[in-house]
Symmetry: C2
């Protein structure tokens, strides 16, 4: 990359020069056809496969440095690539290549009495900044999603993965260039200077959107400091409410899956609400305890099983991301809705019930990005929603919420077709 | 209003208490039916009519203070209400009452192979802060649009209109309350302390969106200081490009209307681009000059008519909001697109042409919220677009652009209906 050899000047000047190059490339990308973008991403996937040796060698350098720097085993595992994982990354890029292009889609259209014809048409957002931590697959995933929707990507990965990210970006860029995508379409920030992150966050007018991918402290910093719009969620304090009319076996299966399938993902349930009229609450908590989950309950929940620890006031607002679950007994749907309104992070909340009226009220009244009936909160995922992929899950309200994939990476413009109409 | 009698504490504490009241009211509003919201706004319109005397008396106080404070005639005219103008305000509220409710609209839905059924459903944004200047009609218009889409409004009007705004808000609130809308749904900030504006702009998590309505300095301040998402546009540097294949009579009529119909609105054309191959450029500039418009041109434009003044580099980036127009001669569509890409504020740009291919390229390649063919840029308006009203015109990219009305005041949530699916 040219920017690597350029003098660094200030972080702001570096971001401006990267952003201008990205914006120029994005204008070309915005005019590329669906088929051209597909071909470019297929070529990028092929380049990732062709560069297997170089990418794995770069990754080995990162792993060695990480061990020397005392990274935990969990962090090293997140960082580690092997032939199977790299093949998975290339396959994911190819899957994104095959997704339907949202750009150019007509959202709606109308004709005015004076003959003006209006259409709202999907267009790319522009230049998207991705700020992420150790997982090198984000370099390929995020770049592919951005390019597929006609956006340029400016990537700023974590220091632990710097060599892996550079090798992956080099392969992607070569593949994309071979299919006519300008080289600025996917750029990796060529320095780990943390001041560059600050410069990206304040580059309003140069970067159109920031997507943070990583832990809560990263997301919190981005949300606090960004002057550029951010698509993100901070917490996934997800609730599963077992209504009085829930099927007991379904309630147990869903509670177990929603908490324990993978405890570290944002869609994992963190609070279980048991209706006081639900007759099988004891079975649900027993199954959770027997599966190795620590339960922290209010007084009525603790009466169900002596193994349940007392919950503190903080527990209702805690995202454990671990085999820990807070449990409260509530008096009916209204009490459940009130608890969720107060404590939910508006990510994903679910009701288990056989009562259609209760289900519809829950669907309508819970103000979260995703609201579920009789399903595990762990389905909160772009792939599971059939979007093919996701750039992240958004809890903001303007205007993409939930799993954000290609469509969420676009906005629209109004196209107006007239025949000489002047406004009276 | 209770807040008026409460101790003011800090601006942040005042905004928090207003916002919490607004948010509580909004939750009730979000559950109200289409018919209930219509009835409430019809009642608000009736209350505005019933309070004519009180509102006009309050307005007379503002006008007297404005004259004493040396407001210009233009500012006094913006501030002034009379029976006809107030009737117009009430009629506008009633028109909004009759618009179709976007809340609950299903944007799209799908079914997954595992039987999960997904829907994206429109929901209100929440609590919307409106920060505006002297026009008291904004108090009624903005409140009506917010409530129609299930949002609460926190209004902070200009000092010049303080009595008018309070009288209008009191009438609206009484009408809304008579139809079951909680009193916090529409609140006027009960102090003109400017620090409250700062507290609103940084009330992320309490206020969901800010809409500034007023001059460029107000919008610039809001955009610079807000931590809450902002729907706005800063500049309306709109272009009309007369392509070589434009009909000469249509070109003249559109150029005149786009600039001169009303020069002070954001959709007024500020730069005219004349194709070097367009044969009737002289007629277009003569008509503009004869209508009283000052033209500032590049060298080739000035050769068309000796009355054209020389343009400086700044002129291409200036929103005159006056009977002044910058004029450049360009060599074909590519040069026009390049000029617009460099100088447009991405609000509204238009081409005049009889060539469909040129029109389609312009529609696709100009990256503005509104792109027009053979129509006056002065049509950039929610009412003209058939939206019934508008809260403003947005040039941001996430995710409402162009005239923003009811739909732009909503976001969506994903509703998921399952039958016990657990994620493998």
């Amino acid at each position: 990359m040219n920017a690597q050899t350029a003098p660094l000047e200030t972080p702001e000047a570096l971001v401006e020069s990267l952003a201008r190059k990205g914006r120029d490339a994005q204008r070309v990308l915005a005019g590329m056809s669906d088929a051209d973008k597909t071909a470019a991403l297929v070529a990028a996937a092929a380049a990732l496969r062709a560069d297997e040796k170089a990418i794995l060698a770069a990754n080995a350098r990162d792993l060695a440095a990480g061990e020397a720097n005392g990274l935990t085993n969990a962090m090293l595992d997140r960082l580690k690539l092997d032939p199977a994982r790299l093949a998975g990354i290339a396959d994911a890029v190819e899957q994104v290549a095959r997704l339907k292009d949202p750009v150019g889609q007509v959202i709606d259209s109308s004709e005015r009495p004076n003959g003006l014809r209006l259409s709202r048409v999907r267009v790319p957002i522009g230049l998207i900044g991705i700020i992420y931590e150790s997982r090198p697959n984000v370099t390929a995933d995020a770049a592919a999603l951005c390019v597929r929707a006609g956006n340029a990507a400016l990537l700023r990965g974590g220091s632990e993965a710097v060599h892996s990210n550079r090798a992956i970006e080099a392969a992607m860029a070569r593949g994309l260039a071979s299919a006519g995508v300008p080289e600025g379409a996917v750029q990796l920030v060529p320095t780990q200077d943390r001041a560059v992150v600050g410069a990206m966050l304040t580059a309003a007018g140069l970067i159109d959107m920031i997507v943070p991918r990583g832990g809560k402290s990263l997301v919190a910093r981005v949300q606090a400091d960004a002057r550029v719009p951010v698509l993100a969620h901070l917490d996934g304090i997800c609730h599963t409410y077992i209504h009085s009319a829930a099927d007991p076996a379904m309630a147990t299966a869903l509670a177990l899956n929603a908490k324990m399938r993978r405890t570290g993902i944002c869609g994992a349930t963190e609070t279980l609400l048991l209706d006081a009229q639900f007759p099988a609450s004891h079975d649900v908590v027993s199954a959770l305890l027997d599966s190795g989950c620590e339960l922290r309950g209010d007084a009525r929940a603790r009466a169900l099983d002596p193994r349940i620890l007392p919950a503190s006031a903080n527990d209702w607002d805690t995202e454990y991301l671990d085999a820990i679950l807070s449990v409260a007994v509530v008096d009916g749907l209204d009490a459940a809705l009130a608890h969720i309104a107060r404590h939910s992070s508006h990510h994903t909340d679910a009701i288990v019930t056989g009562d259609d009226a209760a289900a519809e009220r829950f669907l309508n009244e819970v103000d979260s990005a995703i609201v579920m009936v009789n399903a595990s909160t762990q389905f909160a995922d772009g792939g599971e929603f059939g979007l093919g992929a996701e750039i992240g899950i958004a809890t903001g309200r303007l205007h993409a919420r939930g799993p954000v994939a290609l469509e969420g990476l676009t906005t629209y413009k109004w196209q107006v077709r007239g025949s000489g109409q002047t406004r009276p």
